[in-house]
């Protein structure tokens, strides 16, 4: 009890000391003034695919300029599939921007403002801070366009610095923990900056929870910066893959009754993956990758380990230290490039359908044994595809006997068909885990 009271005094004393130096209101103004000029109201015209065809929609998001030459960081879910991006700067000038690159796994995208459209070439930019030194309770401001209301500022504290979400639903974040804040974040804040009182960007606001109050989540800026740098180097963020799923070891450690036990539990080894070929199996405990000790007592440590694996070299083997049945051994695994890349959907208008590269979810649901195929995301009513009884969720494995490896293959075969356009097309599908056959007959334009 005494300790708690002392802590309270310390906090209050600290706050008093701070307020004596600079009035709190003034600190907020200073922070605001440093970032607000670099805030961007982003309005992409995005391609959306519903009911078997491509459609357009305008969405609203936020972004922040982080370099003097006009690069903007925002969310993948704001800028993905953008046909055109409109940006309104704090000066209220409205210009276009192009998407430099976008990474679905971390929900980060980078835009480049078409600065030649600007009258004033002096482009304000915000300073990126360090998200590793954040503290729970620290005061933060969220800047952006909630529900399209541009240049809005809200305030709150950091509620948690290590919020973990299992990779489920839309809240995928296999490689990072989230900053949770009670600063009001609404749809439209996405991609906008979360800043500290020094006026540094410490996170990219990405998610709010519906039907909840003051539950906002931001991507730590250190990860956003790293991904943005990779995007600026090339166009796609490439990740390495060995084919394992991992789980924290808290329960295992208690089960084994070994107080000093460390590592991470391997729960899933994908068939034919590098890890499977190296003999790893569910139940093994991974203790070291190369020279790096790995330890995940709690799930909050899992993203870090996934990140290490995703950064493994592709041109050489890495030593993995594995614990199994009280014995340790080292196996060499050569990582490969991650299969099942999330690429934009593709419309096949003549067939009345939209397809996408396989996702892990579809791969598992349809019990596929290799990564060949694309899946149908929707079928257009009244189209040739509907007449052929194609359905959303079907995996297209072969077209006229030719294996469809992925989106590019599908596109090639589809275009080939458009050139010849003489005979029906025979599709070999996977539906509900087993084969299904369909013939698409060309139909007159509808």
């Amino acid at each position: 009890m005494r300790v708690v009271l002392l802590l309270w005094f310390a906090v209050i004393a600290g706050l008093l000391a701070q307020t004596e130096e600079v009035p709190f209101q003034k600190q907020v103004f200073v922070a605001r003034n440093r970032v607000l000029p670099a805030l961007v109201h982003v309005e992409p015209i995005i391609k959306i695919y519903t009911r078997g065809e491509e459609q357009h929609a305008v969405v609203t998001g936020s972004g922040v300029i982080f370099s003097p030459d006009g690069y903007v960081v925002t969310n993948h879910h704001v800028a993905a599939n953008a046909a055109k991006v409109w940006c309104t700067l704090s000066s209220k000038e409205r210009i276009t921007a192009s998407v430099v690159g976008s990474d679905p796994s971390t929900d980060i995208a980078v835009l480049k403002l078409n600065t030649e459209e600007l009258a004033d070439k002096n482009i304000p930019h915000a300073r990126l801070g360090n998200s590793d030194s954040l503290e729970v309770g620290q005061i933060v401001l969220a800047l952006g366009s909630p529900l399209g209301l541009s240049r809005s500022v809200s305030m709150g504290v950091i509620s948690s610095i290590d919020r973990y979400f299992p990779s489920q639903g839309t809240m995928i974040s296999p490689y990072n923990l989230w900053i949770q804040t009670d600063a009001a974040i609404n749809p439209g804040n996405s991609g906008g900056p979360l800043i500290n009182l020094r006026g540094e960007v410490i996170g990219i606001n990405a998610r709010a929870v519906f039907f909840a109050e003051n539950l906002g989540f931001a991507i730590p800026i250190n990860l956003a910066r790293e991904v943005a740098e990779e995007i600026l180097k090339g166009t796609a963020v490439k990740r390495s893959w060995i084919g394992i799923d991992i789980q924290q070891i808290k329960d295992l450690k208690e089960y084994l009754n070994l107080p000093d036990f460390t590592g991470v539990l391997i729960v899933q080894v994908e068939e034919n993956s590098p890890a499977a070929k190296a003999g790893l199996r569910p139940g093994d405990v991974l203790r070291k990758i190369g020279d790096t000790q790995v330890n995940a007592l709690y799930e909050e440590s899992l993203p870090t380990i996934r990140k290490i694996i995703s950064g493994l070299p592709l041109d050489q083997k890495t030593a993995f230290r594995i614990w199994r049945d009280n014995k340790e051994r080292t196996v060499e695994i050569q990582a490969v490039e991650e299969p099942l890349i999330d690429e934009p959907e593709l419309e096949a208008p003549k067939w009345g359908m939209v397809i996408k590269n396989l996702s892990w979810h579809i791969y598992r649901m349809q019990m596929l044994s290799d990564f060949n195929g694309v899946y149908i995301t929707s079928v257009k009513p009244g189209s040739a595809g509907e007449y052929a009884d194609l359905r959303a969720g079907d995996v297209v494995r072969k077209i006229n006997g030719e294996t469809v490896k992925g989106r590019q293959d599908f596109q090639r075969l589809y275009e080939q068909f458009q050139e010849s356009n003489t005979s029906p097309v025979f599709l070999e599908l996977i539906r509900g885990g087993h084969s299904y056959f369909a013939v698409i007959k060309p139909r007159a334009e509808l």
């Binding site: 329960d251 089960y255 139940g283 049945d325 084969s435 299904y436």
Partner: protein, 468 residues
């Protein structure tokens, strides 16, 4: 004098209403004692205590079909699936129904037991177990094959509890005949009486059918495709559906139970488009899109993409997936063990292939089970429906998690229904007995946690169950 007057009145009445009032009244009186009220308890699994069930009282109309107390009711009294081709998959939420009682016309009530059912024709059979003072009046079904649209009929049903289950007798006209996949009759009326099982009687006094439970359409359609507002009709199974079953009722008992005839393929219709593409010699057929391991089809060498053109010398004229049930009926009409000849179309050539059908393997609902209420789990022996569903090899060993109590050690550890426990504390689980022994042993020591390795489809999970 008074008596004479009565006689005159009677005669006048008899002349005024020849063959209208009197016969229908007579029909009602003839059939009234041949139907009965069936009462039982549906047992709904409790999610919070393994091995415990909520009892829900249910009533049905029954038709007495033999003098020794054989009663036919709708098959929904027994919600568990029997084999891998009947029923609707694992039920999970129901135990076996219990406490069957049959109440006769004379208000006498007798205990009865469930003896078997056939889901394809929605018929289940009960047998009165208490001794009967005399043989019961029973319905001897005549053929319903000749019933046609426009024919006047009577329906004998029972009202709901608030009307004291009194009989409801209504004249109707057959309004439609639905020919496929199995011929049934439709009456343009609502179903107000006690659910399915009512008796259809012709004006000539022959019982020719029973009402079915209203069919529900769960098929997904985009909103633009709704054809009409969903109206329900009274559906009637003509007696052909079940007449043979009455003579030889299905038995559920472990020794007697036999699945229906089974081929063991996944199928789709040979649509005109597929036919044009493959250039098959005849229109219509069954495209094999899956061959189940160790099934009659696999043993006979059937392959994915084979097209079945004839079955037992009958053409398979199926061009739409909506009609696939017709092929299933062709198979189940055969006896398990029967040999049939198929005409197959494979890679441009036609060939004959003999197949020896087999009884369909049992469903998980009928599998042996162990309920461990302290651990909070009901596990069952692995049945082939699960292995087929998960695409796992048939020699997979383990036990199937059929029920989990969420507030139990197993539930808190994250165990979920649908998993297959393949290892306990690192040791392979062979079957139910070995699993029970392993859990017992683990509990005997000084246990803190039990480690379960669980597989579902191709995903593995480790569940740590705290048994402190």
């Amino acid at each position: 004098m008074k008596r004479n007057l009565l006689l005159v009145i009677f005669l006048i009445l008899a002349v005024m209403a020849p063959g209208v009032c009197q016969p229908s009244r007579a029909l009602f009186q003839e059939f009234r004692p041949k139907i009965c009220l069936v009462q039982y308890y549906k047992n709904v699994s409790s999610q919070s205590q393994i091995g415990s069930y909520f009892k829900v009282k249910q009533y049905r109309i029954g038709v007495i079909v033999a003098p020794d107390g054989l009663v036919m009711v709708n098959s929904d009294v027994y919600p568990l699936s029997l084999d891998i081709i009947s029923g609707e998959g694992a039920s999970f939420s129901f135990g076996e129904p219990s406490d069957f009682k049959v109440k006769l016309f004379d208000e006498k009530e007798y205990e009865a037991e469930f003896i078997g059912k056939d889901d394809q024709v929605q018929a289940a059979f009960l047998k009165i177990t208490a001794p009967l003072p005399a043989p019961l009046p029973y319905v001897d079904f005549a053929s319903g094959e000749e019933i046609e649209v426009g024919q006047p009929v009577y329906l004998l049903e029972l009202l709901q509890e608030r009307y004291n289950f009194e009989p409801l007798f209504t004249p109707y006209t057959i309004n439609a005949v639905i020919p496929t996949p199995r011929r049934k009759l439709l009456i343009n009326a609502e179903n107000y009486a006690l659910s399915a099982g009512g008796l259809l009687i012709t004006a000539a006094g022959e019982a020719v059918g029973v009402t079915l439970r209203s069919s529900m359409d769960f098929s997904f359609r985009p909103p633009s495709e709704f054809e009409e507002f969903h109206k329900e009709y009274l559906e009637i199974a003509p007696s052909e559906w079940f007449r043979d079953l009455i003579k030889n009722p299905p038995m559920l008992g472990k020794a007697e139970y036999q699945g229906k005839a089974w081929l063991g393929i996944g199928m789709q219709a040979l649509t005109p488009e597929l036919r044009d593409y493959w250039q098959t010699p005849s229109e219509g057929g069954i495209v094999v899109n899956r061959v189940y391991p160790a099934s009659p089809a696999e043993k006979a060498g059937l392959k994915v993409q084979d097209v079945i053109l004839t079955f037992d010398y009958q053409p398979v004229d199926i061009k739409r997936n909506e009609d696939l049930n017709r092929f299933k009926e062709m198979i189940t009409a055969k006896a398990p063990g029967a040999s049939v000849e198929l005409t197959l179309f494979r890679e441009g050539k036609t060939r004959k292939q003999k197949v020896k059908l087999d009884a369909a393997p049992r469903a998980i609902d009928l599998a042996e089970k162990i309920q461990l209420s302290e651990l909070g789990v009901e596990v069952r022996e692995l049945t082939r429906d699960i292995l087929y569903d998960y695409n796992l090899p048939l020699d997979t060993e383990g036990v199937y998690v059929y029920q989990v109590d969420h507030a139990s050690p197993a539930g808190l550890g994250g165990l979920e229904v649908g998993g297959i426990i393949i290892r306990v504390d690192g040791q392979a689980v062979q079957d139910l007995q070995s699993f029970a022994a392993m859990i017992k042993r683990a509990n005997e020591g000084n246990p803190r946690k039990i480690m379960l390795q669980v597989q579902q489809r191709r995903e593995t999970q480790f569940v740590f169950v705290d048994v402190k």
